[in-house]
């Protein structure tokens, strides 16, 4: 059996490993545009220079040799011939497949803002982005990061820690709008501001002013504020790399549509990771996921099914996030933002833990089910909450929604007895 895998990241490498474990004799070829294996989640550490790219390799030592994967770095697949069942690559290679996996991930989406595209504007998805930013930083200029989602916040905090002058612009009323509600959102805003980040929420980039040489001068916001800018990083959303798929009649929406076995609508072709859309177990909607564990899980399922085994995405979700904001740990699980629309009950517990840290726990319940949770400052047991939310375990209201935190903690602990 000939397997071809497009991509060299979370989903693709997970798939390769699963295939090898089931098909010792198969030929597995992996083509990636990347020059090396590195974890995208560490790009902010590479941009700041606190880690080198070799340290960001997320695979065990001698991975390709051990699993006998033929890896082609710096080699992008340029086309799929579904009739002949082969792919062509930018380095001029051709590879025939019996099973093909598209795990091409996503890229930075540039918002249509006048003057934004041009020199000194960086996306933040690939190693090249981090290296370009790293090379540009010593100029000591002012950096404007557009988008205070997970990537924008982490990058802003990392660079502010090193003394860089950073502005952060977000359309929503507070940072991490997909992960936090108003109270924790306000806490996040004050943490980032205290770290020296010039934060502008509920505002939007209207245009970028450039000088005669095309270099940026200022970022003008809709509110009228002008932020002096030498460098800009766009972290306001991504676009799935679906081009290879759409060209050959694979059904796509925002991403490639896959079923619970990671199949596309074409028989020999599978897809996994950030390039896809699949059913989310928590909200039962077809949607993209944008987290590492979801991509790994999809890769595992795709690999198993490609090799003729059975597996299912039944319990997969992308609605989970963990982030360290200037040293404060935060985990959010479930559709935090849907809470008001669905009339869930919201319980807030504010306390100081035994180490004196300010902590907040927020639970959203619909009576007998925990639907979403935000853990601020103390995240131990986050996975237990996650398990309850993902598996929709019936829990008595009083188990989780105790009048006091101690009671709620016991209710949760009980869920971990298995």
């Amino acid at each position: 059996m000939n397997y071809v895998i497009i991509g060299g990241s979370a989903a693709s490498t997970a798939a390769a490993r699963e295939i090898r474990q089931r098909d010792p004799g198969g030929r597995i070829r992996l083509f990636t545009r990347d020059p090396a294996f590195y974890s995208r989640c560490q790009l902010h550490l590479l941009a700041s220079g606190h880690r080198q790219v070799a340290q960001a390799n997320f695979l065990p030592h001698a991975w390709a040799e051990r699993f006998r994967i033929e890896v082609f770095h710096d080699d992008a697949v340029t086309g799929i011939d579904t009739g002949q069942q082969r792919v062509r690559t930018s380095a001029g290679r051709e590879a025939a497949y019996d099973r093909l996996l598209i795990a091409t991930g996503a890229r930075t989406a540039l918002p249509p803002v006048a003057g934004l595209a041009g020199s000194r504007t960086f996306g933040f998805r690939d190693l090249a982005d981090a290296e370009a930013l790293r090379a540009a930083l010593p100029g000591g200029g002012r950096l404007v990061i557009i988008g205070a989602g997970l990537v924008g916040c982490e990058l802003a905090a990392e660079l502010a820690r090193d003394g860089h002058r950073v502005s952060l612009v977000e359309m929503a009323p507070h940072p991490l709008p997909l992960q936090l509600e108003a109270e924790t959102g306000a806490l996040a805003a004050s943490l980032l501001s205290a770290a020296g980040i010039d934060l502008h929420c509920q505002d939007r980039v209207a245009r970028v002013e450039r000088d005669a040489a095309g270099l940026p001068v200022a970022v003008h916001l809709a509110s009228g504020t002008a932020l002096p800018a030498d460098l800009m990083v766009v972290a306001a959303g991504v676009k799935a790399n679906t081009e290879l798929a759409t060209g050959v009649g694979i059904t796509t929406n925002r991403g490639i549509l896959i079923d619970r076995q990671c199949r596309t609508n074409l028989p020999a072709i599978f897809a996994a990771g950030d390039v896809t859309e699949s059913e989310d177990v928590i909200v039962h909607q077809i949607m993209p996921s944008a987290i590492w564990p979801a991509a790994v899980r999809q890769g595992q399922v795709a690999g198993a099914v490609m090799a003729g085994d059975t597996d299912s995405l039944a319990r997969n979700t992308g609605l989970r996030a963990s982030v360290s904001l200037c040293g404060t740990s935060v985990v959010a699980i479930g559709p935090v933002n849907q809470a008001t629309a669905d009339h869930w009950t919201k319980r807030v517990y504010r306390y100081r833990n035994s180490r004196g840290h300010r902590c907040v726990k927020i639970f959203f319940t619909d009576g007998c089910r925990l639907k979403a949770a935000i853990l601020w400052g103390e995240i131990t047991n986050a996975g237990v909450y996650g398990e309850a939310i993902i598996n929709g375990r019936d829990i008595h209201d009083e188990q989780i929604v105790m009048p006091d935190l101690d009671g709620a903690r016991r209710g949760i602990a009980e869920l971990s007895i298995r």
């Binding site: 979370a10 997970a14 974890s39 989640c41 560490q42 550490l45 880690r51 340290q55 960001a56 390799n57 997320f58 695979l59 065990p60 987290i291 590492w292 564990p293 790994v296 899980r297 595992q300 989970r320 996030a321 963990s322 360290s324 040293g327 740990s329 985990v331 699980i333 180490r355 004196g356 840290h357 995240i379 131990t380 047991n381 986050a382 996975g383 237990v384 996650g386 398990e387 188990q399 903690r409 016991r410 209710g411 602990a413 009980e414 971990s416 007895i417 298995r418």
Partner: protein, 157 residues
């Protein structure tokens, strides 16, 4: 293979295992070492006595799972399911993203809360002659035997 056998029914909640785990992972192998970096950075146990809804204590230990959710979530490759069945974290590779903490369904992946922002979990006392928690358990709740899994949880008898 060597298997840790946990019989929850025998637990009396004495917390000897927690304490032994703290001591085993503290500088100098001394309890005092646990507080060397200050109270707010004190060494944490890698296991925890939890209290259920009825107020009964039970030991929550890492299962060194067959399909470990913590490993699947790890974006640095620090966590690995080894050939000997143990799930071990390499502290030099860990970047403290806590995706593992978010993912362990039992709550056994924890932030260290110490000097370094890294995760800690049960390392099965691989650099010691025997598991400190097992040696400290006075009730037979924790034992070591032979089996096909690294940990068998909740054997009753």
């Amino acid at each position: 293979m060597k298997t840790k056998i946990i019989d929850r029914s025998r637990c009396v909640g004495c917390k000897n295992c927690e304490l032994a785990c703290i001591v085993a992972h503290s500088p100098g192998g001394q309890l005092a070492g646990a507080y060397a970096a200050g109270i707010d950075k004190a060494v944490r146990a890698r296991t925890k006595l939890e209290v259920d809804g009825d107020g009964k204590r039970f030991p929550q230990f890492c299962r060194h799972c067959a399909h470990p959710a913590c490993v699947d979530a790890c974006m640095s490759g620090a966590l690995e399911k080894r050939a000997d069945g143990l799930v071990i974290c390499d502290p030099d590779r860990c970047v403290g993203c806590y995706m593992c903490v978010m993912s362990c369904p039992y709550g056994n992946a924890r932030p260290s809360m110490g000097e370094a922002q890294i995760m800690i979990k049960c390392d099965a006392c691989t650099d010691r002659a025997c598991m400190a928690c097992v040696a400290a358990c006075p009730t037979g709740c924790l034992k070591v035997g032979e089996g096909t899994e690294a940990v068998v949880y909740n054997v009753v008898g």
